[in-house]
Assembly symmetry: C2
Homo-oligomer: 342 residues x 2
């Protein structure tokens, strides 16, 4: 272990709009010794997720902002390489909040041990991790799709959207996905069984969405905001439900939009159509986590539930991959392989 160095990526500057490579800095230090009650981890896969963009801004949110010079936050699948905690032994695999690091020394409490199954460990960060649970909990608690209803979701090949579509179909609902580009739309139809898939980069999204939803929209799973919300709003049926788990389209906006104030139209729709618009963070619904792991875990193991991963090699590529994700350049759950599987 003498040759191993801890590499980590810290926030170097607060981005204005879309982050740039210079907003991040790669640092190196020695690997720390494990403290009593702790475990020393070597990261295998790092999860890159849109919520991290919000943490880079110095404003109030559900979590405090990342301090300048502090390591970027992330969940990882990591291997225990040294342990002074009775529940963990060298060689165990865990899900941990390591941040964008090659190694981390963390208290043993709060880790989640992965049992070896037929499913790749990387899924613990995607379809069987936070994004998958976001889709599951948002649909179960807020969306509540019924047979014959229509469910719309954007980022339809991403880890949240792809599971939302599959859960909609499993409930007997029509699933309409929105994605960026022909290749992602083809994947949404072929891999994730969406009934229709629309490319938001092509013109006339509102018209095409209306055509794809002849009976209106009963559940809109909001993870992007912006133009997609404007296209969906006129189609929402009476008593439609809108779980809001992300607004990636507006994360990088520096100035509020000017022009027509669409708040009045949104409030009017909420009132006159009895809409429920509800924001949530996956852990708000942790009482459903065990059900999620059992149900979706069984579906993934059996091949009934599909997922797609986009794996980037090397911690040093994390900033560029993250920036690309914010403009839709990833194709599936974005992961960074920090060290290869043993």
């Amino acid at each position: 272990m003498a040759a191993e160095r801890l590499r980590r990526i810290v926030l170097a500057a607060r981005p204005q709009g879309l982050p740039r490579q210079e907003d991040f800095r790669l640092e190196e230090q020695s690997v720390p010794a494990v403290e009593d009650g702790g475990v020393l981890l070597r990261v295998r896969y790092l999860s890159l997720d849109p919520y991290m963009r919000g943490r880079m801004d110095d404003r109030k949110s559900y979590a405090p902002p990342v301090a300048l010079g502090a390591v970027m936050p992330a969940e990882s699948v990591a291997e225990v390489i040294d342990s002074r905690h009775p529940d963990y032994a060298t060689g165990d695999l865990v899900v941990a909040r390591t941040g964008w690091c090659s190694h981390a020394m963390l208290p043993g409490a709060g880790l989640r041990k992965l049992t070896r199954t037929s499913v790749p460990v990387s899924t613990a960060l995607g379809v069987l991790g936070m994004p998958g649970f976001t889709a599951y909990a948002g649909m179960r608690v807020i969306g509540q799709p019924k047979a014959g209803e229509t469910v719309v979701v954007a980022a339809a090949t991403g880890p949240v959207g792809s599971l939302v579509g599959q859960l909609a179909r499993a409930a007997g609902a029509r699933a309409v996905g929105i994605a960026g580009g022909a290749e992602k739309c083809a994947c949404a139809l072929r891999e994730f069984s969406f009934d229709a898939a629309l490319d938001h980069r092509q013109p006339d999204l509102p018209q095409r969405l209306a055509a794809a939803c002849p009976d209106g929209v009963d559940v809109y799973f909001e993870n992007v905001g912006g133009a997609v919300w404007q296209a969906v709003l006129p189609l929402l049926n009476r008593f439609a439900r809108v779980p809001v788990c992300g607004l990636i389209a507006q994360y990088n906006s520096i100035e509020p939009d000017t022009g027509r104030n669409s708040l009045a139209a949104t409030m009017r729709a909420i009132l006159t159509r009895g809409l429920t618009v509800r924001g949530f963070i996956n852990y708000d619904f942790s009482e459903h986590y065990a059900d999620f792991l059992r149900e979706v875990g069984a579906g993934v193991a059996a091949g009934r539930i599909r997922y797609r991963e986009d794996i980037v090699e090397g911690l040093e590529r994390a900033p560029q991959a993250f920036i690309g994700m914010l403009t839709g350049r990833n194709f599936g759950k974005l992961l960074v392989r920090v060290t290869a599987d043993a």
Copy 2:
């Protein structure tokens, strides 16, 4: 009865912005004969409510627009003066959807008979009618105030707001009311037991509201929209609930607001604070109607629940009274006395 004539007020023109007297027309005709299965009604009190403004516009809402030349819709307390329905006899008092009329011939089915109690019959249009049930159902199903929480409502001396405040207090919550003018604010404190009352016509509402809600806002009962929403939004606590039953501030707006687009800020707050924003019409929750009549009826009869009425004399004054209500000129539940009590 030979001398009686049916007077009614019809929609003469679709208003642009705030309605004008010329948008309404008083018509007279003979009182119709009662048909088989029907009752002939003489209206005592007519209810004027903000939702009627929405019906005057030719656009999609939860109810179809009023046709040009058609009678303006309204609920009334009326006396049966002739009946060919077995459930109704001359002299019975009913709540009926008569419209803005002195008389109406309606099918007996769908009327609600009023039993004679100690409570004035006019309350069947206010605290014990649609507005009261709107407050009750919105608080029970969506708002769900808990002891120690803070509830904010505007139009605090109106029939919805005044009951929202009293229900909040009954639940052990702090009730903060917003109203137009010093007299209404004094009434909110004195009559309706609000913990604080703020005049929205004075400057710096956001600052004063923040000072009146030191622990933030857990329930905002939305019945006005516009500037009050902007003042409340920064104060909403994590998991705050926003029942939306009206948006009177934007009913008369012709053009969408320009300038800063506050939709993005609203969606961001919904996401990061896990807000629930849910529109409703009172009859969406009709399963709670019997509980409402029993609980609030007992409170009103015992004097525990207070209410305030603003009664205008004469059907011909309904248009002016309605226009005044849209600019906050009424003080309490607005009613038109069409014929005096027997």
